[in-house]
Symmetry: D2
Subunit: 359 residues, 4 copies
Amino acid sequence: MAKMEVGILGATGIVGQRYVSLLADHPWFEVRVVSASQASVGKKYREAAKWFIEPPMPEDIGELVVTPPDPQLFKREGVELVFSALPSEVAKQVEEDFAAAGFAVASDASAHRYDPDVPILIPEVNPSHLQIIEYQRRNRGWSGFIVTGSNCTTIGLVMTLKPLLDAFGIKRVLVATMQALSGAGYFGVPSMAILDNIIPYIKKEEEKVSSEPQKILGRFENGKILPANVPIGASCHRVNVLDGHTEAVFVELGRKASPEEVAKVFKEFQPEPQQLKLPTAPQPPIIVREEPDRPQPRFDRYAGEPPRAKGMAVVVGRIREEPVFETGIKYMLLSHNTIRGAAGNSVLTAELLKAKGWL
Amino acid sequence: MAKMEVGILGATGIVGQRYVSLLADHPWFEVRVVSASQASVGKKYREAAKWFIEPPMPEDIGELVVTPPDPQLFKREGVELVFSALPSEVAKQVEEDFAAAGFAVASDASAHRYDPDVPILIPEVNPSHLQIIEYQRRNRGWSGFIVTGSNCTTIGLVMTLKPLLDAFGIKRVLVATMQALSGAGYFGVPSMAILDNIIPYIKKEEEKVSSEPQKILGRFENGKILPANVPIGASCHRVNVLDGHTEAVFVELGRKASPEEVAKVFKEFQPEPQQLKLPTAPQPPIIVREEPDRPQPRFDRYAGEPPRAKGMAVVVGRIREEPVFETGIKYMLLSHNTIRGAAGNSVLTAELLKAKGWL
Amino acid sequence: MAKMEVGILGATGIVGQRYVSLLADHPWFEVRVVSASQASVGKKYREAAKWFIEPPMPEDIGELVVTPPDPQLFKREGVELVFSALPSEVAKQVEEDFAAAGFAVASDASAHRYDPDVPILIPEVNPSHLQIIEYQRRNRGWSGFIVTGSNCTTIGLVMTLKPLLDAFGIKRVLVATMQALSGAGYFGVPSMAILDNIIPYIKKEEEKVSSEPQKILGRFENGKILPANVPIGASCHRVNVLDGHTEAVFVELGRKASPEEVAKVFKEFQPEPQQLKLPTAPQPPIIVREEPDRPQPRFDRYAGEPPRAKGMAVVVGRIREEPVFETGIKYMLLSHNTIRGAAGNSVLTAELLKAKGWL
Amino acid sequence: MAKMEVGILGATGIVGQRYVSLLADHPWFEVRVVSASQASVGKKYREAAKWFIEPPMPEDIGELVVTPPDPQLFKREGVELVFSALPSEVAKQVEEDFAAAGFAVASDASAHRYDPDVPILIPEVNPSHLQIIEYQRRNRGWSGFIVTGSNCTTIGLVMTLKPLLDAFGIKRVLVATMQALSGAGYFGVPSMAILDNIIPYIKKEEEKVSSEPQKILGRFENGKILPANVPIGASCHRVNVLDGHTEAVFVELGRKASPEEVAKVFKEFQPEPQQLKLPTAPQPPIIVREEPDRPQPRFDRYAGEPPRAKGMAVVVGRIREEPVFETGIKYMLLSHNTIRGAAGNSVLTAELLKAKGWL
């Protein structure tokens, strides 16, 4: 099978670099075009991108010349699918231009997340929402389409809520997060702001964590996504950790379940991407640790098998009863915010799109 | 008024050092004896204690010779009151020996916290519990007595729950903590364990945070403390911060209250230590910050006026509705774990004991 | 004595905030005008400045309205002396405008440091260089004048080289620095760049450390500063520390001296600001620590007595022989980069100007 | 070729874990016995070792049962070669017992480093020193022998001094280090000691850095190692970095050389392990970076090709003139202290022993 040519929008930032890294040697996709803002255009990628992440820059992608985000340039290179790590203020128009020009757009930006005809896709949670693409195309008159991923904090959370919801029902959720620096972008948090400190506030994050899961966990029916009703309250905080969002989750279940039953449900979670053995699908998608003091970001953020799925698993630990609710449980979770929570999730979405015939 | 001579048990550790620092130039108390474990006995305090904290060691206390924890030696120096920062396994017997020998013991150790006739005292919250001392003496046949302080995480939390309970009632509380390194003692957390990391587990901490407030918020009646019933669920985590425990608190109130009403109740909290103008009582005891991103440990942990009360105030911020409960609110709080949460709380307790005639 | 009215140029940045903090309740000076860039003009200082440093913002300066850097506005308020924490690209013209308009300008910017008729002043090292002001005025036709301070890394180093040079002579110096984050400004070092890392490069820093001491240690003669010849080689590195530059210094002395002799020379250093008992002059200016593991930035950066001189002393430790040179010694030094190394040095310079009749 | 069975002494500590990790799937060696202190004996390695390092524990080694350091037990398993990561106070006797019992011992402990008949081996620098083994055996009457590696800071330094010495000669060296936490062992540096701090002292480190290179760079002649005479002065400091020692090196060369000539000499360094293509030999052994701000520990500590040699290369950058000497140069270097500086160096030594017929 010939590989599909793909492009990356916003390729020089921290999520853009994760795309570059995750798509190197991808069995189905080949990066052909990298685009970025005006200052980088015309330079080789290796010169345009100050490389921030630990895996070294793939040699061949380093040689690509950065282009502007112009659909015609992408077309000329045979690209059909683009991954977008654009800043939200730019993403709205550019992503629409690409979709109108016939591209499949898999985006991490929030610009289109809340459009009723655009899915927020977590491949393990709501693969059926891809069906809305058909309606999106019809509404907008596009030959291409846009699929988005969720906020980075939301993805890990919803990955664990989904099997609980299916097995026990959920009355309400409270979550307190300890989020990594990379979630704010490379220049987002000055070192003087966070050394020996916590910043107990991330703009609009709590709102996203409360609202996005309603759409993701919703039901697709007659061309519409009907929102779920799983009340979620969040308190979001930045801590001095490079990568990996840690979350303390309290859940009032629909019915009583022991920590062992909850662990079993997590361990047996085998959704469609795993069944399809998609290349970037972690197996298992949820890893349950038994030690009293795990997950820890430095040790667990790159969890996920096979090697291509490193950083794609959600690691859960400390599952215990929460007696303030009759049917309460609590647990810790960790997921890599720029892999599972951003670029990796979109790559997996693209694999699902391909496996299901949307590409 | 001549100052009262006091002693410190466990004077070389991190809480012991806070006692030394807080009692320097105290208007009512004078440190006359410092005791520590065998390895330090006979040395000058300045040589025995590797000084860990930022305010410099008081010159005169540095000159004291470290003694063993023997009541007779303390008596000979005219000491009547001892502050205990002993490790819990040692504290049980030593504190009892001192109480039997006629000393007032103000302790941060957990050894006696759960004895029914020993109060867990937060001077702003349950000053009336001092009355149990009378029963304790009678039960034990002691001329002295023991008063304990709560776990460091609990003190900040209960300081804020008390005015909420009085004003609105409380149905349940969930709290996620981000606790400072000093809570584990100077050698407690290896740097390799916490750099670029979080440890999502502190042994027995969640149990203490759930149970101790029941006694503290309980009612003293007929020589007994009748526990309160304020269900509290906790998830406790260690982060890479020197001092200051940060807590994200979710409360289901007894009746609906707006964030503004909650802020008002916090601001108007004026319990007995403040009314008595005790030297170490912070005024106000709860500081409400209006900025979206406060409290932060590096900037707020030493909050508290007058200067003697630095680190004694609890700083609250981000008071907002929590719609997962009909009567829900949430807020952040910060308190200095070795001052407000340990040594400072005991010093304030001792001041209260003196002001009320127990010394 | 009525206080002299002073102004601050670039008052909202990290050095500007140090000026505000150091000048609060100053016995000789009173801050009357604070100026900053266009975005802040017209706001109260408390709203314009995101306050970065630990001592709280002085209430009264918080109420001042930020003005543009216009000499006429400063004049109208009776200001005669301005402290400049301007970025170098702005400093050149603005500082000249103020000097031309009759103001004394004490600047931390590098813009005028290398002008032959502008002194780089460290009050303990080269107070006699103030005499060049006369020539500067004549050359430029100014009624006011400009005095600069040295680069923050240089100040601590030269403070220790001066007494060595006088006592023993110096053949050559090598210094390796471990510099604090605040030296790059609040937004200068992203947290993602420095967590679990070192950045072994600070632009133009090594050049400054090599060249500025030649001027500072030079001789004033016939209206000129004749450069010294003390070869200094530097390797400059950024580490994850908030404040306080640490330097490892190797010196080939002019003649053999033991560590004890070197310590004695440091301890007996009593230059003019100390003899004049200037309010911000630390006494002693060089503190020698005997412990094997000091100075350490977290514990020693605020060294300096009296309280007004906190952060103004240079702390030296680990003085030992360096046998690679016949007359070699080596030692560690620490100085607070935004106090001793910037704002505090300029305040002390202003005090010297006043004491010597230049103001 | 059947693999040689090997054992690890002190297998549970941080260097022991690096041995376990580096020897997993080694083409020539197979770990058959892991030994540790009494507390661990009888447990499975996976339970005895709290795993500190990022690569996951090899499954099969995790299943081995920890034994005491008894040569007979090792013999019974067919082991001929042991790697020692023992604490120095234990190493002396135990390593001698193994050598006497016929084992080849490759040790990171300092216990035998300074014995005149024991080599301190850096395979790239002094492979010829292996010849002393013959004399060692004769002196001691051993059938086995002991080979040691150098102090972790020294290895990186000497790797770069060797080619300079050969090409240009060296008059003197000054080095200031910024050393990682792991050099002190997992529990060595409390987090409270190093957060927002530097510890400018590492016990006996400067002495080792000055003296060990004399032996390593010495000449083997008539059964003796004649020490070199390369005066080295060091100032050693601990910084808040997990792994990777960074060193700022100033060298007075024997003759003038430009930075380009120095870079060329580093790049062309091709000693025996590289020529023999030993499995753990990094190719090239010295990597020269051209960027102004490299090497950096977080990005460069795992440098080294092929994959088995990750962390074995020494990364050099910022080569520049140092004008305080007529023939001066300076540069930065970085090497992984527990791989290149300890376990990896010994594994490479063992490979050299095998390739040269000593095993």
